[in-house]
């Protein structure tokens, strides 16, 4: 059992380091929570209140009625009107609006004459998400408006309305009925924040020992390399776990994040995930030649991959397969799936066991590699 006591000694030492370094403690404990609060409130993919400019060159009651349908819509926010077509370029150039609706003169007369009145809707494609959704909404708005015009006309004419049947999509969103992207993003956000913080902390820990020379001292002691690493990783695991717990509570209480699945799976996944991130940090630590390169590597390998390769914000299903494989190199990917599954889909062990297994395997492999590399370094 002396392994355990040696590991315990390292754990105690790391805790002491930590407690004495109050700034790091504040960063590790407080920052994730604060950032979570800020970002969760801020981030969203929900497209609404899209700034719209109306260019009405007709000025008839009919055109005004048409314009009102935009103003009364939740989706479009009319920020201004303009007089002629040339305004469109200017509006988009200066980012004054994302949508421009142009009602040509003669709109009212065409309708009164029973014709198809053209309307032009221009979308600023430099914001693709907004543009895409804008496309759908404007198409829908015009379709609905057009149908209403047709039916009113048909009524006044006393016409038979058969053949006017239309399919109408009824959209149901599962797991997230209000379609709040925050429910989608917050579980991912938690994962990202923890990964960034955890990976960086361990990335420097081994190097610090090397630079201070204390590693020589440890090398001649009976301490085995893997014992030291496990010991180093443990306090951080506990801290990060604490972080995750606090963030989860914050998410549930402040952001009404539902928790529909198995809390046990979430906890297990979280523990494994933190262990993995730290293990990855140790690998960096073992490989980096100096403290500042450890810092730089830690930063580079945590920030962008966490955001981009974890499935947090970008759909991983749409990327080339080769890259999907690469994304598996970052444990965040699995944790995001677990987090979303547990929070939103009510998933449990049965659905998420592959991800849990992946995390477990990752932790063992990362730690193993760190041990081997560190040993080779020292010689």
């Amino acid at each position: 059992m002396s392994s355990l006591s040696r590991i315990g000694a390292v754990v105690a030492k790391e805790f002491i380091h930590l407690v004495r370094d109050r700034r790091t403690l504040a960063v590790v404990l407080a920052m994730p929570v604060l950032q979570m609060l800020l970002f969760a409130y801020a981030i969203s993919f929900d497209v609404k209140n899209v700034s719209t400019v109306i260019i009405d060159t007709d000025h008839t009651p009919a055109s005004q009625a048409y314009v009102r349908s935009y103003q009364s819509s939740d989706f479009f926010t009319v920020v201004g009107t303009a007089g002629d077509l040339s305004a469109v370029d200017r509006v988009f150039d200066h980012n004054q609006a994302r949508i421009a609706v142009v009602v040509p003169s003669g709109f009212g007369r065409t309708l009164a004459d029973g014709g198809q009145a053209t309307v032009a809707v221009y979308l600023d494609g430099s914001e693709p998400t907004a543009a895409r959704v804008g496309q759908a909404f404007s198409t829908a708005l015009n379709q609905v408006y057009g149908q209403r015009v047709t039916i009113e006309w048909a009524d006044t004419q006393g016409l038979d309305v058969t053949g006017f049947g239309q399919l109408e999509p009824r959209v149901r969103t599962w797991y997230n009925p209000e379609k709040r992207s925050s429910d989608f993003l917050i579980p991912g956000l938690m994962v990202v924040i923890i990964m960034v913080v955890a990976l960086q902390q361990t990335a420097v820990s081994l190097v610090r020992e090397r630079e201070q020379g204390t590693d020589e001292q440890l090398a001649i002691s009976p301490m085995r390399r893997w014992e030291m690493m496990v010991g180093k990783v443990t306090p951080w695991t506990l801290l990060a776990f604490l972080d995750l717990a606090v963030i989860t509570v914050v998410g549930i209480v402040f952001f009404h994040l539902p928790l529909r699945g198995s809390t046990l799976v979430l906890a297990l996944g979280a523990a494994l995930f933190v262990f993995c991130s730290l293990g990855l940090g140790l690998v960096i630590s073992a490989v980096a030649p100096s403290l500042e390169s450890a810092n730089m590597l830690g930063l580079l390998l945590s920030m962008l991959p966490a955001f981009i390769l974890s499935g947090f914000a970008f759909p991983l299903a749409s990327i080339p397969v080769a890259l999907q494989v690469v994304s598996c190199l970052f444990p965040a990917r699995f944790m995001v799936t677990i987090a979303r599954g547990v929070f939103l889909k009510g998933a449990g062990f049965g659905e998420l066991w592959p991800e849990l297994a992946a995390l477990g395997g990752y932790a063992v492999i990362a730690l193993g590699i760190a041990v081997v590399l560190y040993g080779r370094r020292r010689r």
Binding site: A117, P128, F164, P169, T173, L323
Partner: protein, 372 residues
Amino acid sequence: MSLHRIRLLMWKEFLQLRRDPLLIRLLFLMPILQLILFGYVVAADVKNLPTAVVDLDRTSTSRALDASFGASDYFVVTQRPAETELQRLMDTGQISIAIVIPEGTQAALDRGETAPIGVIVDGSDSQVASVGSGYASQIIARFNADRMAAQGVSVAAPGIDARVRVMFNPTLASVNTMIPGLVAAIVMISIMAVMGQAVVKERERGTLEQMFVTPIKPVEYLIGKVTPYAIAAVVQLLVVALVGIFWFGVPFAGQISVVVVGLVLFMLTSIGLGLLISLVSHTRQQAQQLMMLLLLPSFVLSGFIFPIDSMPAAIQPLSWFIPLTWAIQILRGAFIKGSGFEALSTQFWVLALFAVVIFGAAIVATRRRLTE
């Protein structure tokens, strides 16, 4: 201020940079690698969504609708299960969208009634939910229009013929808007990471103190330190940007000068921020933490990933304090809209202001803090 001493400091800095083994790799290899790797991810458009179609109607109409989904790029009909299986399929993530065509659809249409079509989206994936449902609605709308046209209706009836056109990025390909932003983000991180350690290193080693008992003035030190990094950063910038443009085939409609000036200004702010961090930190650990503190919000709040328009009104002003926000606007404007200096003048002025303020703060910090 002695030009000779500044040249001397630059010479020293270059020597040190050259001898640093990791730096070249960090400044050039890693960003390019990251650009290519991440570029594919951020540029991916929602497509090929695994879809299930449940056809309870089994009429020619419903089959035609089924076919129109299958023909679309956005959906890949992988399953035609029973309605009861949908829950399991979506729970396990095998499908993202399900189309349910209820029994009696064709009959309702023939009677001139509105026939509902169920579109079920996986809400746990926000992109899928919003974009997918949008696509589905569009397909159904087109189906309607085709059907009306085929039946020869609406010839004499008034209606709205809406021409919806996307300007500047007609294919709405994400690659065109995300790659420029990614270039800026990658350059920002690597520069800040390097600069952030630059001064702290000297402080910890004591070489800073030695330099400051000599006639070297704080301003000379700053200029001498920053210039070599700035040059390296410009080179990195150009290389990364060119790789981005050519590898991903990002179309460029605008003026090169706009992009260059914008990127250079942005790069200056990144260098300045890294320098400031380095100056106010006493240990390398502190520098690291401070950098993380600044970089995370930059990613989240700058509009790089999450649209600023979608943020709560109270939070939007925060994005104005992040240089990356403005850089992205300049880049997107120049690349996609071909915007010129006039249209982007606000952005340029703001970035220039940032650069001035940051370097001013750096000079003050040098005078006061370096000696402690």
